[in-house]
Every structure is written in structure tokens, then in C-alpha cells.
């Protein structure tokens, strides 16, 4: 059986989540490996969410937020950008493949981009194989 | 490792849930044992407590609210914790209905000293939610087999509002009986409240029980205790004759985990019932 990765998506309510909706309503095809959790803003994402997701067996984590400057709360994603950049570096230095974590700015009108990013990211995770480093073995 | 293992809870089933107060955050749960031998082994006296145990959430030490004279079940009155510390066990329990199964570990700790109370007049003073083990004691003493062992019984019970009084049906029954004097008070009444208004310490002073051959059993929030004790000293009660139940964070309940250590006592295994005289020997660390 081919490897079907589990990917956690955390999407901002105003842009990426709406973008995902748009991708759906315009019937764009993209892999079903992504499970999306909606948050009100990308700056609401606690880095521990990401560590925890990897521990609970996510093979990849994709974060979606509004484009910088477009945040519904004006500056949320500007904070998030710095914070998630640090998260990325920490994951990298701890030895996790850097490709398993990705942040993308996807606006509400970019249904196409959403589908593209998910397709591309899923392919990338597939090539990386199952994530075993952080995953808690039972 | 099941045999004689004090850390393994016995299974019980919720047979009745009673919503006690207007704010719906205090409920009385009635449990029946799933194993007959557990029920036989669960011999307790008023004032003891047990650990309510829900796998995945944890354990919570709760005073037993039923009296051993009520055979076939045990009752616990549980407040949903969570204003400051999220209470996992109490929240999970509150979300359960009749038929839910949980674990029970006990009985733990020492009871109210029944032998010491015998042949004496008893004044029971309770405030708010801390009335649970007092209710157990009162029901125990009022039982026909036991009533003759005790002298006069006076109950002074207060809550903030009429809606926050626990065990309303039983209170009404007690008020009808003539072998117990029941004084119920609320800090502030509402439109329908016809009873007494006023704080517990003031009511105690008004009722003024005689200290002669009398033991006061007091349980309540710290602020009530703080103002009630001087009243009893004024009335002439000695420290040996004032009993209370101490609260401390507990985990094991059997004097092993070290958490409830106050001075050379473990509140769980050496208490939780202490006389004021015993408490004064302990360092003020609770």
C-alpha cells in the first residue's frame, strides 16, 4: 500500500480557510491528506500545537494565514511570521526534516493557490516518507 | 496486583444524580457498588472521605455525604471545580448521568470521633458547600439505632442564598422533628425566603449553645471558621471540644504520597478530622 501521509493544516478563518472553501466550491481537485483546523488568526497558533501534532503522528504541518498586511486584525500575521520562523528553526535544529513544516500566505480569493500548495506539499511529504522522529511510539 | 492494592479503585455505578443548588455546580451523586464484596468492605463512619477516580482524568478526594445507616449506596456531593484550577475529575463527573461507571477508593481517613461524641450534646455548624460530612454525621445520629447515644443535637447551617442550601428536603424534615434543633440561615434572602437571615457567626451567638458537656463540630469556608471560632470561645467551649475537618491537597489518601503533610501529621491518614487543640499543635502550614 502506498504511503498516505497525514497532514495537519491550521488555517486562519479569514483568508486561508475561506480560500479552502473557495477551492472546494470551485471543485478544484487536491489530495485528501490534509485535515484542516480553523483558527481565528495565524497568530493564535501556539508553537506547541505544531510540536504536539508531530508527536501525535502528523507527517507534515501546513499553516495558512493572510498575506502580510492583509490580516483581519491588522498585525496578527506579522507576529505569527516571526514566531513560526523560530518554530521552523527549532524543528530543524532538533533534527526534524525541515520540509515537513510549511507556512503559506493564502488569501480568501486564492482557491487555486490553496489547491496548488496542498498538492505540492502532499507530494513533498510523500517523498519524505512517514514521520517517525517525533511520533510517540506506543 | 489487584489484591490488597490500595491504589486500585473499585468500580461503582451512578444510580442517582441530584442537582442541589440553583447554580447547578453542586450535585449529589449516589453510587452503588458493582461488586458485592466491595460493598461489604466499604465500612465507613461519618467524616471519612474517598477518592473518586475517573481513568484518564485523575482522582479527587471527596467527603462521604451519606450516612453508614443508609445501606446499599454511598453518596458524594461534588462541586464542579474550575474557577482557578481546572478540575478535571469533578467536571467529568458532572457531565455523567445515571448509569455512568467510575472508580472509588476508600473509605479513607478518620471519621468524626463517634465514641467521643456519645452521651454529649452536639452543635453542628456548617457553612455553604462544606456541609457534606456534617450531613452524614447528622443522619447517622438521627437514625433510630443511634439517636439515644447522643444528647441534644443543634444544627446551625448557613449558605449565601436560599438557592445555595444543600439537601433542602432533608433540612425540611429535620425542622419538623423535635429531637433536633435546626437553625437555617442565609446571608441574604430572596422574595420567597421566610427564614432567618444573617451570617453564621452572628447566628451562633444568638443561638448561644451551652458549652456544658457539648461538642461543636464546625465545617465551612475559612472566612466562616475564622469568625465563628471566637464566638464559641466566648461561649466557653474548650479547644478539645471544637472539631473541624481540614482540607489539603491529597493524592494517595493513605499517607504515602507526602502531599498533605502538615507537621508530623498526614491530613489524609491522620485526619482530616482534628480538634482545635490538635490543630494548635501543628505548624500553621495549611
Amino acid at each position: 500500500m502506498s504511503f498516505e501521509p497525514k497532514i495537519l493544516g491550521i488555517a486562519c478563518n479569514w483568508c486561508t480557510y475561506t480560500g479552502a472553501d473557495l477551492a472546494g466550491t470551485t471543485r478544484l481537485q487536491y489530495p485528501q491528506n490534509l485535515r484542516v483546523v480553523r483558527v481565528m488568526c495565524s497568530s493564535r497558533i501556539n508553537p506547541s500545537f505544531i510540536f504536539r501534532a508531530f508527536q501525535l503522528g502528523a507527517d507534515g504541518v501546513l499553516i495558512g494565514g493572510c498575506h502580510p498586511g492583509d490580516c483581519h486584525y491588522n498585525t496578527g500575521n506579522l507576529y505569527a511570521r516571526r514566531r513560526l520562523a523560530v518554530t521552523k528553526k527549532i524543528l530543524e535544529f532538533s533534527g526534524l526534516e525541515p520540509g515537513r513544516f510549511r507556512v503559506e500566505w493564502i488569501s480568501a480569493s486564492e482557491g487555486n493557490k490553496f489547491a496548488e500548495v496542498v498538492t505540492e506539499f502532499t507530494a513533498q511529504i510523500k517523498s519524505l516518507g512517514p514521520q517517525t522522529k517525533f511520533k510517540i511510539s506506543q | 496486583m489487584t489484591e490488597n492494592n490500595p491504589y486500585i479503585p473499585m468500580p461503582v455505578e451512578i444510580s442517582k444524580v441530584i442537582d442541589e443548588v440553583d447554580s447547578h455546580d453542586i450535585k449529589t451523586f449516589r453510587f452503588t457498588f458493582l461488586n458485592k464484596e466491595d460493598e461489604e468492605n466499604f465500612k465507613y463512619l461519618p467524616g471519612q472521605f474517598a477518592e473518586l477516580s475517573i481513568y484518564g482524568k485523575g482522582e479527587s478526594p471527596i467527603g462521604i455525604a451519606s450516612s453508614p445507616t443508609q445501606a446499599g449506596y454511598v453518596e458524594f456531593t461534588v462541586q464542579r471545580a474550575g474557577t482557578i484550577v481546572p478540575g478535571l475529575v469533578t467536571a467529568a463527573l458532572h457531565d455523567m448521568d445515571e448509569g455512568g461507571k467510575i472508580g472509588l477508593r476508600g473509605p479513607l481517613g478518620h471519621s468524626w470521633p463517634i465514641e467521643f461524641l456519645e452521651k454529649k450534646d452536639i452543635v453542628v455548624v456548617g457553612g455553604g458547600f462544606a456541609f457534606t460530612t456534617l450531613r452524614s454525621l447528622i443522619n447517622f445520629m438521627l437514625h433510630e439505632d443511634n439517636r439515644s447515644r447522643f444528647g441534644e443535637i443543634t444544627v446551625i447551617y448557613g449558605a449565601r442564598t436560599p438557592g445555595l442550601l444543600l439537601y433542602k428536603d432533608e433540612l425540611a424534615q429535620w425542622e419538623k422533628r423535635d429531637d433536633i434543633k435546626t437553625v437555617i440561615t442565609v446571608d441574604k434572602g430572596d422574595d420567597t425566603w421566610t427564614g432567618r437571615q444573617g451570617f453564621v457567626p452572628a447566628v451562633c451567638r444568638e443561638v448561644a449553645p451551652s458549652p456544658k458537656n457539648t461538642v461543636a463540630v464546625i465545617c465551612g469556608p475559612p472566612i466562616m471558621i475564622k469568625f465563628t471560632l471566637p464566638v464559641f470561645f466566648e461561649l466557653g467551649f474548650s479547644k478539645e471540644n471544637i472539631l473541624t475537618s481540614l482540607e489539603m491537597r491529597m493524592k494517595c489518601g493513605i499517607g504515602k504520597c507526602g502531599r498533605c503533610n502538615v507537621g508530623y501529621k498526614y491530613v489524609c491518614s491522620d485526619g482530616p478530622v482534628f480538634s482545635l487543640a490538635q490543630l494548635e499543635e501543628l505548624p500553621r502550614d495549611f
Binding site: - | N5, Y55, G56, V85, R249, I254, C257, P283
Partner: protein, 351 residues
């Protein structure tokens, strides 16, 4: 019965014990020595002063599983975790640590409810005590002698060992030890000279490292009770304290634990885990009330519990002077100097 072997034959001895059951012995690790279950007979290393974590973990492991359960399923399906203990050999325990087992016995199995886990592990284990090397200077943090424990005190061990250069002498102390020793056929009998050396060594051990001697534990308990309310004293003592858990985790006589439900997906385990009275949330009640919010209150609890409450409750000081708490304290708080200051050296006689 005094037997002997040479240090280079240690792996052989280890292998023989491993055949009979589980061997727990000091192993050299990055940060220092620790007692570990031995998987390779060559791991056993007796060139150590003392371990970082005390050997209490052999009987009271940091994590002890009680019950496995599944969330969403009935409590009736939860299964207690069986211990399945093989005979265990706790090898190379220093005399002060051996003493700690006796103190912990009083708490776990000697009074009140018996802790089945402690008792079962204790029954399954044979203890090989090991004398301190008296040629080596004592660590400045240690004070076992103060508490009346000799550097070569065989009390409490089943078999006691003394090393003389490259010879390891083993003496049977208890019937349990004797039963084991008769099965170890490759050990040879010690000579008369060696027997004398062994006995002299044990005697000498009581005079080794003489700082203070304790004269009256009851009085110490009283002094601590008298000083309890002196917040200034305790504040000063705890000025440096970080309120971390190092001292309690490395201590051989600290027994506080927490019972935790640890769930992963639907599988969970109820287990007991070491806890420390130095942690802020140790006494945090569900009502939000916490009687020990300040660092000094927690340090006071720790010190008074060991040197006062424990004497009152069980009649012994809950300390064996192994010096671990002092040695590994990030800010070098010397527990014994607290005791000395609290009792104003009144109840200790400087020798």
C-alpha cells in the same frame, strides 16, 4: 562467611547474577554514575564515589505504572499492571544509601497501609552493600557520619563488599545473602589476613569523616518546631533557593509522589511519578488555595519534614547524609548547614 574475587573478574560475577535475575548496578554515564539495569556484564563499574540518582529508584522508580485503561471504555476493562519481578540484585550500594531503605521501609511498609509496590520490589531484591573507599578524600557535601552511619556500615545489606586494591571481599550478612552466596561457586574463601582487614575496615569506617555527631534527635525535632514561625530565618535560608526539584529527586529518602493519568489517544496509564515538595503546584488545591506559595515555605517544609516531622512521626531523621542534595544543588545550598543554623549547633557536638 567471607568470600573474595578480583576486580577484573567483576564481569564474571555480574554475568552470574544476571543469569539468576535482574542486576542493577552502577554504570558510568556522561554526567556521572547511575544505577541501571545491566544488559552487558562489562558495564558494571565500581570505581565510583556515589551515583547521581539514589538507588531508591530500584524500589520506588520514578515512574511506576498502576493501571492501564482505555478512555471511553468502562472502568471494568481497566487492567492493573502486574509487576512480574525476577529476583533482583542491587549491586554496589553505599552504606548510607542502604540505610535509606530502612528509613523508607518505615514509611512504605512499616506503618499504616502497606505499599504493595515497594514491598514486592523490596522482597525480590538482594542488596550488595559496598563500603566507601576510605583512602579517597570524602566529598565536602557528605555528612553520613553525623547521622551515625559508618563509611563501611554493613547494616541493612544482605551481602557487604569491601574493596582492597584489586580484591573484592564479600561477606554474607543475612540468610537471604547466604542463600545467594552459596550459589556463586567461583568465589574463593578469603584468607585470615583478609578477614582481619575486612573487620578492621568496618570498625575504621565508624571513625571516618568526623564532622559532627548527633546527640539528640528528639531535641532537633523540637528546635525545628520552635523555629517554624520564624519567617525571617527561613527567608534568609531560602534566599538562594531556586525551588527546583533536584534535591528531592536525587535524595534517597524523599518519597513524595503524584498519581497521574497519562493518556495517548485512547490508551492510558495511571502511574505514580516522583513529585517534589519544592514545586509550586505541589499543594495547590482545587479551590485555588495554596498554603505554600513562597519559596521559603516550601524549603521549610522540606527541611522540617526531614529533620523534625519525620522524627515525630517515625522516630528517625529522614536523611542519611549522602550529600546528593548539596552536591547537585544548582546554587549549592548545604542542607546540613541549615540544620546546624536552625538548631544553633546546640544538639550537635563538634568532635
Amino acid at each position: 562467611m567471607l568470600k573474595k574475587t578480583t576486580i577484573d573478574k567483576l564481569p564474571e560475577l555480574a554475568a552470574a547474577l544476571m543469569e539468576k535475575g535482574t542486576l542493577v548496578a552502577p554504570v558510568k554515564e556522561d554526567a556521572g554514575f547511575n544505577f541501571r539495569e545491566i544488559t552487558d556484564a562489562k558495564q558494571v563499574d565500581l570505581i565510583f564515589h556515589n551515583t547521581i540518582i539514589s538507588p531508591k529508584s530500584a524500589f520506588f522508580p520514578q515512574v511506576e505504572d498502576f493501571v492501564r485503561y482505555q478512555t471511553g471504555k468502562s472502568i471494568l476493562e481497566a487492567a492493573p499492571v502486574e509487576l512480574n519481578l525476577k529476583p533482583t540484585f542491587l549491586f554496589g550500594v553505599r552504606p548510607c544509601d542502604v540505610k535509606s531503605f530502612q528509613i523508607m521501609d518505615i514509611h512504605f511498609s512499616g506503618t499504616g497501609v502497606v505499599d504493595p509496590y515497594w514491598q514486592k520490589r523490596r522482597e525480590a531484591t538482594t542488596i550488595f552493600g559496598f563500603a566507601f573507599d576510605m583512602n579517597e578524600a570524602a566529598d565536602a557535601a557528605e555528612f553520613y557520619h553525623t547521622l551515625g552511619i559508618g563509611a563501611a556500615d554493613p547494616e541493612g545489606s544482605d551481602i557487604f563488599m569491601v574493596r582492597k586494591d584489586d580484591i573484592l571481599m564479600l561477606k554474607v550478612i543475612t540468610p537471604k545473602g547466604e542463600k545467594l552466596m552459596t550459589g556463586l561457586s567461583f568465589l574463593t574463601d578469603a584468607s585470615a589476613d583478609e578477614i582481619k582487614y575486612f573487620d578492621d575496615y568496618i570498625t575504621k569506617g565508624y571513625d571516618y569523616k568526623t564532622c559532627y555527631t548527633c546527640v539528640d534527635t528528639e531535641a532537633i525535632a523540637r528546635e525545628f518546631e520552635a523555629i517554624f514561625d520564624n519567617a525571617d530565618f527561613w527567608t534568609k535560608i531560602s534566599d538562594a533557593c531556586l525551588s527546583c526539584g533536584v534535591c528531592t529527586f536525587v535524595c534517597p529518602t524523599c518519597y513524595c509522589f503524584d498519581i497521574c493519568d497519562e493518556t495517548l489517544f485512547s490508551q492510558g496509564t495511571r502511574r505514580r511519578v516522583w513529585d517534589a515538595c519544592m514545586f509550586t503546584d505541589f499543594t495547590l488545591e482545587a479551590s485555588g488555595h495554596n498554603p505554600r506559595t513562597k519559596v521559603y515555605q516550601r524549603l521549610r517544609q522540606k527541611v522540617c519534614h526531614k529533620y523534625s516531622y519525620h522524627i515525630r512521626k517515625y522516630g528517625v531523621i529522614s536523611c542519611v547524609g549522602c550529600g546528593r542534595c548539596t552536591r547537585y544543588c544548582p546554587v549549592n545550598i548545604d542542607i546540613f548547614s541549615i540544620v546546624e543554623e536552625a538548631v544553633k549547633a546546640k544538639w550537635y557536638k563538634r568532635l
